[in-house]
Subunit: 149 residues, 8 copies
């Protein structure tokens, strides 16, 4: 059994690295969005030409990023979505909605203070966790049946 | 041609009423989530029994609300998602993600200051508007081919 | 909004009648399996000829009943599955699995003593209840947003 | 031709080992649920924190196990479901329902005394058998066209 | 519950009339292919122009008939396929294969002498019958739970 | 049997009127794109605000029109696509591709001089015709089995 | 590009061998039903126990064979169905119907005398041929763009 | 992450070679239609026999080519469609429609003078570009997150 895991959401901390490091040796393939914030914002105009208006600047970029994010979500067995402490993060919730509609196993990661506003997202998840280690523990359990010591 | 339209998102202003009033006479059927905030929060425990922890209190309610929201989205031709000025509104973005994954025609409504954080949601939409009247204008045009005077 | 509700499971008590009576006036269409136990057991051989072996006797009947149960589940928005106090009731759990795989909103009804062996079925449900009245309360809430007094 | 086979159901005897041992050398990949009963029951709280109520204790675990079982069923060509002599085994029937709804080739294994209560499950199966060796014989036949001597 | 029933196959006897007559008053909608043999053979060239070769003459007609037959099968809950005593009737078996792949409830009607060559078709059916009355009995049972006296 | 027919393609002649007039009394529901060329071109900016660049002017309009055209194609049983004598008409071929991928019954209407460049589109069609009357003849035949006199 | 090709239909001549031999070196994977006629007829009872009636004897076998044939068809890019000179061959037409409904590229092989009764099957095919060599020529062309010398 | 990219459309310039050359070393698999114009036109009659009428000559060829093009599009993550300066190119727009309906990430390549007639096709695309290098830049960005220097 190989698990394809897509790591969606917050891009300002190293939670993805923590998971992929701790998951070394497991039969897991990880994918994720482009996490270079500037590249992600400007990719559309950098490749397809500048725009005067921010709306179309952003549209060009967001559609280009969608090629990667949709590929990641559609090919995933598990979609992990982390909500950080800051920012609107509507793209994270949007990815969670896509994952739910596509029948993916959804794991949501967030701090307790966001519990209430995330209740609809959590309600679609098979697991709600707070730390990267818990995601790794889940992957280990799903793959091997072993629980953390 | 009948259009089934689901009105998702912000529940603190009367934008849904404005649309349904102005759309009187059009061949449109509207549906929406429960917009009574207290009922929506407490429905789970009111029907299925109290919970000590907020997490499960919210889970019971969110799952019950999901019966209605999924029905609305899955049966819609058009999903309109309004993002208000306040709150996290992750459920709105989650609904937009579901609508996109299910191939629904998505219309997003928000104020200009939210343009950048909503760029991924907007990029999945067939129309991005700011006012209820624009939604009505779109419904009129789609149904009749008539543009606003 | 009309809700199509399929009432699966236990056929020895009048829980279906209780629900349909209490739901009078709601915009709900109910369907259910054939609840005449003898007819359900013997329908296959009654129409298509007797069998010497019980296995094929049952096969003929179960396949005929499947025409009705699949139609009910596939056309339902909500599938309610009640587990009674007695018998194996594997067909009830089978219906719940079909409903889950088809993305139906699943409501499971059972007494507390069955909580542990039903945990996988409950985990796929959007609501777990004990009484017909709770099902009706859910239907009222989903359709109208009103909670029980 | 490679066959992916998911072995669902009873976890108290070594029937899975018998099949995988006897199927050595065949082009078959086997998967199965976690068969360590204690780990399966407690995985949710062990990773995501304790619960006061058994219902939520079980919910957390069952949802975690669903990540593995759904992956197994969705990726299977053949789903084998064994019903043992004891217990309610509603999860086995639930898995069979999912497999049937997803169009998987279903093989059901059980003793003659369970024939009548399992008639709806059997009626959805392409084969009904009693022993692990019969499952292996089927796999050999499907892969090679050879019948048992 | 309304049942949409498509009556496929043999067009030389009045079995369709027998069924629709006997099913009067049931909540059933029947559809069927064009049963006028000459019209069915020549419809393509009659509307779209003559062809020198029989192959293209037949192609034009068969593709036109496919508009109706696919509509009938795709919108059916139940597909009844009757194999008569004569002719190759490959189109009947083709329809049965389509119905099976689309997950329709399949009823096959034929005489005993065709049992062996039809075994693969029968094996995909939920009922195998010999007479129009049996089809009507099945419809009555599925709709009302009543068995023939 | 009701047929939903979407009339796609050329908007400069009255072929749609000819079909709908001649089909009076048939159990057919017709839908079509907005055929007011100016409204179709300018709908986006008229409702959602002007654009400096033609590319985004057109994008806004084309996405709005897509709400209607996708609804029409997705709800159609039959998609008729007419290619006229002039213009690129890539949207007509695009609609035909969508119809083919969605498994709709496709009828293509064009003059003989376009036969070779339309061969891939024709090859996906169940009927290739030259006149509105032929479309009507097909609808009559599909619905009633009657051929033109 | 790898092509998965399922070779369905007539099992009394060596047409499958001719194709697989001539296709050596091409990037093609072939699958097929069990072509040992006796094994195919008796597999069900040989593994799952004898039956008194031919109907159930055949049912057991046909359902077992369906595990293999459905796997082959569902995983195929191209389904080739050969109709021989003799027998009813309804299973061949049934496979063609399944392939058509699943959107597979269908190639039908038969002699000219069967052209008329096979017109509905042919009309669903992307190619109609008479010889194994033509199938190989098609595979070569599809994979390499080369035509026979 | 591997990307499967189908290169559809114009076959008279070397744009496919430019892309595949410049994409060397990337984790991309390219596929494309047969680009030998004569072979593509004549493949049907070369393998399956001559036709008197151009319509059927073309039909035979177009259906054979459809085996390859549908395989390419259905297995692609990204479909790139290039519209050249000349010809009707309706097959290119048809492929774009198929790709859109199948939910593929669509990239459209064309010169500015075709912007207006291609607006519906562009509106379904995640990127609209003019040069092969831009396609390569997009592939590099999607795979690695790196922007062109």
């Amino acid at each position: 059994m190989t698990l394809n895991v897509y790591l969606s959401g917050e891009i300002h901390t190293d939670w993805r690295d923590q998971i992929t490091q701790a998951a070394k040796g497991l039969d897991v393939t990880f994918s994720s969005p482009v996490t270079d914030h500037d590249a992600s914002d400007d990719c559309g105009v950098a490749i397809m030409g500048a725009e005067d208006q921010q709306f179309w600047h952003d549209r060009k970029g967001a559609q280009l990023n969608a090629i990667r994010t949709r590929h990641g979500i559609e090919n995933a067995d598990i979609v992990v979505v982390r909500f950080g402490e800051k920012y609107k993060q509507w793209n994270a919730a949007f990815d969670a909605g896509m994952a739910a509609a596509l029948g993916k196993s959804l794991i949501v990661m967030h701090q307790p203070e966001h519990q209430h506003p995330l209740k609809e997202v959590d309600a679609a998840a098979l697991a709600v966790v707070q730390t990267p280690q818990q995601v790794v523990d889940i992957l280990i359990y799903v793959l091997t049946g072993k629980l953390p010591a």
